[in-house]
Amino acid sequence: MNDKSIIIREKHSRLLRYSHWINFSLLSIMVWSGILIYWANDAYIKIPNSIAETFSIRFRLAEGMGWHFFIMWAFLFNGLIYVNYMIISGEWRTIAPNRKTFYEVIPVILHELKIKKSGPVTIGKFNAAQRLAYTGAILMGLGSVLTGIAIYKPVTLGWLTNLLGGYKAARFEHFLLMIGFFLFFIVHIIQVARAGWNNFRAMLAGYEIEKD
């Protein structure tokens, strides 16, 4: 075996990678158990019987609630570790939108959709669209926790439920955020696939190869 040297960049720290994959697992269980709960009163988007049957989500309300109110603590805890890490390490600067983000985001999206040939040069870890998406995902996580506890404890936290527009509104907001996560997931998967192995490997092992 040849022992050549390679130039790499340390892209994602261990803590960031761990919390990312733990979050992915926990959020999957939250969405799944949330759908089991939602089925009992599918008020916004009707779940067709055929789909409910295929994915076996009927008559599992109690089970859904059991998982949802168990995993929620781990989801919250993992989220807090991640957010605290981002703040303390100063890494929040890599995902926080700045002044440039807002006028760069349209060209970045046009470039990604191949409408425009060249996009703005990415300085640092993430481009404008990524910054908005990742910061948005964190805010959606916060929103899910707030709308979630507002419908979980609408008497103890009646003030929060009221602030969110009442019990019915908070349930709808909680649902919309789930849809938001779903859309984020789709775009995220497509973009990760397009970015290729070098980029994806960074979320597994932390490094990106600069050049062989």
Binding site: M1, N2, D3, K4, S5, I6, I7, I8, R9, E10, K11, R17, W21, S25, I29, I37, Y38, A40, N41, A43, L61, A62, E63, M65, G66, W67, F69, F70, E91, R93, T94, I123, G124, K125, Y152, K153, P154, V155, T156, G158, T161, N162, G166, Y167, K168, R171, R201, L204, A205, G206, Y207, E208, I209, E210, D212
Partner: protein, 253 residues
């Protein structure tokens, strides 16, 4: 923030990637196995894997510490006159309702009473409107009126043991005993917990639990038992229909 460039040995890098992938595979294998283990686990407590049952109980402890039973369910304006309250289940209501000679059995220690419906009008009428929230996920602003449960037990001197302290639990049943709930005493003493004979300013309909029902808006609707046949007090938790079917026994907001 520009990322630093580092020069490394290619074999070390391969090892590093291999280790990372191994940890990842291990993590997901353990995670998925743990999930499947809980799902398949035969140690079920009242229809729920013991882990999730314990989680319900743990959550109950956390939220009662935050005195969830001491807050009021937010008052709402009265629903428009004549609005029919939503009817959901008819568990325990299948038998023909016999209003003539209808009586409610009460057991508190050695005391046994058979009370006519008029007995539930002995204490002052209390009425309010608030969200009635079903565990299925729907909710409806509803007006309720009846006797406050705490007033009722004071009037008939019920619910206390010889030493003057309250029993821990209240059990309620429909006359056919096909639907039954149990509730912690603190929640039963909540000012919005009423033995209701009126909903939306109309006498209680048969589907909504005539002649007398429990309304406890600080818990999911499953606890608001219709057509009360029996009320009893106990220090051990009486059976609860939906808790036996895997739901959270506490079910409080």
């Amino acid at each position: 923030m520009k990322l630093k460039k580092i020069e490394v040995n290619s074999n070390d890098l391969k090892k590093r990637l291999f280790t990372s992938i191994l940890i990842g595979v291990l993590f997901f294998t353990i995670g998925i196995s743990a999930f499947k283990y809980v799902q398949a686990s035969s140690s079920r407590v009242e229809g729920t894997p013991s882990l999730l049952r314990n989680s319900f109980i743990w959550n109950e402890k956390v939220w009662t510490k935050l005195s969830s039973h001491r807050h009021l369910s937010v008052n709402k304006p009265n629903p428009p006159k004549g609005k029919e309250p939503r009817v959901n289940g008819d568990l325990g209501l299948e038998d023909e309702l016999e209003l003539k000679d209808y009586s409610v059995e009460i057991i508190s220690g050695n005391k046994k009473l058979l009370l006519p419906v008029s007995a539930f009008h002995s204490s002052p009428k209390v009425g309010y409107s608030t969200d009635f929230r079903c565990i299925e996920g729907w909710s409806e602003e509803t007006q309720f009126a009846g006797s406050r449960f705490s007033d009722f037990i004071k009037f008939y001197d019920l619910g206390k043991k010889a030493d003057g302290s309250y029993y821990n639990y209240v059990g309620l049943e429909t006359p056919d005993k096909k639907y039954y709930v149990s509730i912690d005493m603190e929640s039963m003493l909540h000012p919005q917990t009423v033995l209701a004979y009126e909903m939306n300013e109309e006498p209680l309909s048969e589907e909504n639990g005539a002649p007398i029902r429990l309304v406890i808006p600080i818990k999911y609707g499953i606890k608001s038992l219709k057509r009360i046949g029996k009320i009893f007090f106990s220090d051990t938790r009486p059976p609860d229909y939906w808790a036996e079917k895997g739901y959270d026994w506490y079910s409080g907001f």
